[in-house]
């Protein structure tokens, strides 16, 4: 198991926003977390990425696991798109950084924007930039919080293709939060459904989407 979660809890005062008893993530698989707004998806990803702290409980990554995280609100630094991607490269790869960066920019259709200021991009472009920046480095596990939420359909499909190629090449594990059931169906091996901070149901993608068992998931899928 690349990641094990035990009794993980996050609360603000009396309000519990995340409460997971136990869950194990298998290496190399792709997990989609679905659920309504405020169900705990982002909270879980932030805690796993260590940009937020849990109130109780633990989680443990397999030893020497390199974790990459793309937050819900992607950020473009005030420098060229090219430099935005290059800053993610470790110093030891500096000599190949530019070539690799240009490759990533081309794959994500960002090459025409390479000289543009990263802070002046549209929402969808910023997400592609953030994804490219993350994928320019080697990670064993990727935590993506609604990675294509602001992208148009065509850009999202391209981004998914690049992401899947990266996962295959690196044997990396993916945990991503999404509001798009179609995207979850296209990408994920396993779907995890959250409601009110609780992990309600999980299983193989087709099983969860076609044969939901919990009333909450059935209701969620009907409304989706």
């Amino acid at each position: 198991m690349i990641l094990t979660i035990e009794n993980l809890k996050k609360q603000y005062g009396d309000k519990v926003v995340l409460d997971i008893e136990k869950f194990e993530f298998e290496k190399g698989l792709k997990y989609a977390i679905i659920g309504a707004n405020g169900s705990g998806k982002s909270t879980l990803l932030k805690i796993l990425a260590k940009t937020d702290k849990q109130s109780n409980g633990n989680f443990e990554f397999e030893k020497d696991t390199a974790v990459g995280f793309m937050p819900q609100h992607s950020f473009g630094f005030s420098m060229s798109v090219l430099n935005n991607i290059m800053l993610a490269f470790p110093l030891k790869y500096k000599n190949i950084a530019k070539v690799k960066t240009l490759e990533i920019l081309e794959k994500l259709m960002l090459l025409p924007l390479k000289k543009k200021n990263g802070a002046h991009l549209s929402g969808g472009e910023t997400e592609r930039l953030a994804l490219g920046r993350l994928l320019s480095n080697q990670h064993d596990i990727l935590l993506l919080d609604e990675p294509t939420a602001s992208m148009d359909v065509q850009s999202a499909i391209v981004a998914e293709k690049v992401l899947l190629e990266y996962l295959k090449q690196n044997g990396a594990t993916l945990i991503f939060a999404t509001h798009s059931l179609k995207q979850a169906e296209r990408i994920a091996d396993i779907i995890i459904f959250f409601a009110n901070g609780n992990l309600i149901e999980y299983g193989k993608t087709k099983t969860v989407l076609n044969f939901p068992t919990s009333s909450q998931l059935i209701e969620f899928l009907q409304k989706a």
Partner: protein
């Protein structure tokens, strides 16, 4: 006086500019890293430090002047440095007054923008030092504005520089202390003329800073 100028005026303006530029730049070099570090770090007692920083922003210049005077006077702990009544000590006093303002303003601004920067940098595995430089890069427009404030404070301050500099002719006399002296001796025309020159200098620095800000956008 303003149109023809004279040697004494040129000397006073030069001393003023030396003091104002040196102290505001030093205050910037000390205050900005402190502001960024405090804003980007999480540690026990952070709230107390922030309150302390914001309190120091209101340091009374006369009090700073007296404390610096006592510390650097002949019998003070730093008396052997023989800095009393020198431009160097005026710069030290100004830095003590201004760097808390720079640090406080930087901390307040960086805290308001740091969340997505820290999340992104952490997600990419970028170290703390590089993250702080990235934050600094994102704040450059505001830092120019903070510098302008620091410079304005440095060039217009009179209380502390009067005490530690002594307003000595050909040595520590600056525009504000000259204005105060002219006022005390009833030479209002000179005082107002100097005030106008002071404003013109501030305008010049503001114009340069505006050009710099335009380039950072």
């Amino acid at each position: 006086m303003m149109i023809s100028g004279n040697a004494l005026l040129r000397e006073i303006v030069a001393t003023t500019l030396q003091m104002a530029f040196s102290s505001s730049l030093l205050a910037l070099l000390i205050g900005v890293p402190i502001g960024v570090l405090v804003a980007n770090s999480n540690f026990h007692g952070k709230k107390i430090i922030v309150v302390l920083m914001r309190t120091l922003m209101g340091l009374p210049p006369v009090v700073v002047g007296i404390v610096i005077f006592v510390l650097f006077s002949g019998t003070g702990p730093f008396g052997s440095l023989r800095l009393i009544y020198s431009v160097d000590l005026m710069i030290i006093a100004q830095v003590c007054l201004i760097f808390p303002i720079v640090a406080g303003m930087t901390e307040t601004f960086v805290s308001s923008i740091s969340s997505p920067i820290l999340e992104t940098a952490k997600g990419l595995g970028i170290g703390k030092l590089k993250t702080n430089f990235l934050t600094l890069n994102e704040s450059k427009y505001q830092i120019v504005a903070i510098y302008l404030f620091a410079f304005a404070r440095a060039i217009s301050e009179v209380g502390a520089v009067q005490i530690v500099g002594g307003n000595i002719l050909h040595k520590t006399r600056v525009m504000t202390t000259t204005i105060a002296l002219n006022y005390n001796t009833g030479q209002f025309t000179y005082a107002i003329a100097l005030g106008i020159i002071l404003l013109l200098i501030a305008l010049g620095v503001n114009l340069i800073a505006s050009l710099l800000q335009r380039r950072t956008k």
